[in-house]
């Protein structure tokens, strides 16, 4: 009897009868992974649909965390903004909200990120430069002036001093008459990726993770609609990692927070539904979409199978996405509008819950109002003109996309095994494991650019001599002087006895190993500054110094 021809036979016959005529080119993903000329059902697992893909809103959530996705609700258009003084940024917030932005996202300056006040000598030249300068509750009140916190959700990119800024947000709510139970938003508060990639820290890693657990515990009890941690791959990728490293290192960080919270006796289903993620959307369209889909599936499986979460909400990976700053070029900066649009489309096709689109001038300086408007309009064009939102996970079932998703998951699992072998994330940070892996990937990519195996238009090919001619946002040096005046005036006029007492109480609580959140809140209400509060905890927790890995 004649055996049935299989798909494998057909594929082989197709390959044999059509010899490849290919350009002299390395066909690899942005992360250097080889890509085959064609993908077919042969690249998928047996029973791929039922085991690996499934339906949106159902385990393992490969196709999306909600059954109706963007037919139900579009993603939140959330543009990260912050520069100069609180009053400067408050004006930018109002401008963005007036133009249809649906959520706020605060960028803080370097002194705030490192727990220094504007008048500290180490802050010299940095005040209000790459974000807004916040020294005390007084600045925070100005920042949210005229913005009702019961109606607008706010994301805050703050990590080492996250507990302080969270307390300030609660205190602003109190002043507006909004109880903490009603506050919505997200604290980045992912300190592990600071040691791995972004490098803005205060305390040593182990103590810092406990502080993160303090905020998880506090929001669990007092802020049920608030996301206490946004576990972030964005900065790991910007520092030069591959897509797989971004995926694996970030989820490894997420597991570390979950383990630390459970070690304190918190029930996984009480906190896991409020954990969220933050991904980079880089320029390799399909690699990124595979990454987003794999991320959801990996987290769902880990939460259910490794951590024993039983509430399906604990299995959901909700995530924010930002287009890749490092993909933008200083040369021919208008081209960045196009790059950002493609990256934003990948994020939407990957099922993001919120999105920041970079402005074309961000490789040169903080964005101008005009550039920010184009970036926001890019999201609106995707949402309202392209019709890609009409069906859930439109690329699901593409042989290539599913194969890419599977490969991402397998690559992440390999890294999880390696991280476990070296003793976990904290041990990996101490040993410089993550730092070296990322530096190596960054160096390899630079080498590929210089060999012209990867092309950046306008940088190593298609170069134009015409100078870039776009306006640049300049921060007036007067900002720093004004902010220093403000914080000094505050320190001279507040009730310093009350400040001292609240700070002492905080140091005591940290020393006893208590949850510090309520003590931080008392100090914030007394108008203690970010640095004073950070110093009060440093006295017990210590400070971090990174060994200089090259």
């Amino acid at each position: 009897m004649l055996k049935d021809r299989t798909l494998e036979d057909d594929y082989r016959q197709w390959k044999d009868s059509h010899p490849l005529h290919e350009r002299d080119w390395k066909f690899t993903t942005l992360s250097g992974q080889p890509v085959a000329p064609l993908y077919t059902p042969l690249d998928l697992e047996p029973n791929e649909y039922t085991k690996e893909i499934g339906f949106p809103g159902e385990f393992p959530f490969t196709r999306g965390i909600y059954p109706s996705m963007y037919r139900g609700r579009l993603w939140t258009m959330r543009q990260f903004a912050g520069f100069g003084t609180a009053a400067d940024t408050n004006r930018r917030f109002h401008y963005l909200l007036d133009n249809g932005m649906t959520g706020l996202s605060v960028a803080f300056d370097n002194p705030t990120l490192m727990g220094f006040d504007s008048d500290d000598p180490r802050s010299l030249g940095e005040v209000g430069r790459t974000g807004v300068a916040i020294d005390s509750l007084a600045d925070m009140e100005t920042l949210f002036h005229g913005i009702p916190l019961d109606r607008v959700s706010t994301s805050m990119t703050i990590n080492a001093p996250a507990a302080v800024l969270l307390a300030m947000y609660v205190a602003v709510g109190e002043k507006q008459g909004v109880p903490s139970e009603k506050l919505t938003g997200t604290l980045q508060n992912d300190i592990l990726k600071e040691y791995i990639a972004q490098k803005e820290w205060i305390y040593p890693p182990k103590a810092a993770v406990e502080l993160v657990v303090d905020t998880i515990e506090y929001t669990m009890r007092h802020m049920p609609k608030y996301n206490p941690v946004s576990i972030s791959g964005y900065h790991i990728r910007e520092a030069g990692s591959t897509a797989t490293q971004e995926l694996a290192f970030t989820i490894a960080d997420g597991m570390t927070y979950a383990e630390a919270a459970m070690a304190r006796g918190l029930d996984v289903d009480a906190f896991a539904p409020r954990l969220s993620y933050f991904w980079n959307s880089h320029i390799d369209f399909f690699e990124e979409i595979g990454k987003f889909r794999a991320a959801r599936r990996i987290w769902a499986r880990l939460m259910k199978e490794k951590f024993g979460a039983r509430d399906p909400r604990s299995w959901l990976m909700r995530f924010h996405t930002q287009t890749a700053g490092v993909s933008l070029t200083a040369q021919q900066p208008e081209n960045n509008i196009v790059r950002t649009a493609l990256e934003a489309l990948a994020a939407v096709l990957g099922g993001t819950q919120s999105l920041h689109t970079n402005s074309m001038d961000e490789v040169l300086a903080l964005p101008t109002e005009k550039a920010v408007e184009i970036a926001l309009r890019t999201q609106q064009i995707i949402a309202y003109e392209t019709e890609v939102v009409n069906t859930v996970d439109p690329l699901g079932g593409s042989y290539f996309v599913e194969a890419m998703t599977d490969r991402m998951e397998a690559g992440a699992n390999d890294y999880f095994r390696r991280i476990e072998e070296i003793g976990g994330v904290l041990a990996g940070i101490d040993q410089g494991f993550f730092q070296r892996e990322i530096a190596e990937a960054a160096f390899q990519y630079q080498a590929e650019l210089e060999r012209k195996e990867k092309i950046m238009v306008g940088v190593n090919d298609f170069v134009s001599d015409a100078p870039a001619d776009i306006p640049i946002l300049k921060i007036d040096p007067e900002v720093e002087r004004e902010q220093i005046r403000r914080v000094r005036e505050l320190k001279a006029t507040r009730d310093n006895e009350r400040v001292r007492a609240t700070l002492e109480a905080l140091t005591g609580a940290a020393d006893r190993g208590e949850n510090v959140m309520s003590y931080v809140l008392e100090a914030v209400r007394a108008y203690a500054t970010v640095q004073e509060i950070s110093d009060a905890m440093k006295a017990v927790l210590g400070t971090y110094r990174e060994p200089a890995f090259v």
Partner: protein
């Protein structure tokens, strides 16, 4: 002093900036090109950078800044180098620095600035062409 013909370069991060991708890529490229590279690590004050440059007796300092604080930190390091007797140490740098600031800083005495998209080949070539003459530099001290 550096052995003859072998450049000694201090690669530095100053201020509160945590972006170290560029400084690490350039450090490795200079090292691969046969130079001696010392990296300060992150979050150094200008005083610490200048102290390290003089103690390590380097030929040049490569300063990386992506924090927007370049108009404060580059001039401060130039001043301190001159004050501390390191006026013959070349200061170059890189980062997100708008073009008119590049011009101003070069007028002040920063030898060269590399902005996004610069290739490590160009940086290595520039160091070879401009940092050269390490033996003459030592003779002047």
């Amino acid at each position: 002093m550096a052995q003859q013909g072998r450049y000694r370069i201090l690669m530095a991060k100053a201020g509160l900036d945590g972006h170290d991708r560029g400084v690490k890529v350039v450090s490795r490229a200079l090292r691969d090109a046969g130079m001696e590279v010392i990296y300060t690590g992150l979050h150094q004050t200008p005083e610490q950078v200048v102290r390290a440059a003089i103690d390590e007796d380097v030929d040049a300092v490569g300063l990386s800044l992506l924090s927007g604080a370049h108009m404060t930190i580059f001039p401060r390091i130039l001043d301190l180098l001159r004050q501390e007797g390191g006026g013959d140490i070349l200061l170059f740098g890189g980062g997100t620095i708008p073009e008119d600031d590049v011009l101003t800083l070069k007028q002040m005495g920063v030898a060269e600035l590399f902005t996004p998209g610069a290739s490590t080949v160009d940086i290595v070539d520039w160091v070879r062409a401009h940092v050269g003459r390490p033996t003459e530099a030592s003779a002047g001290r």
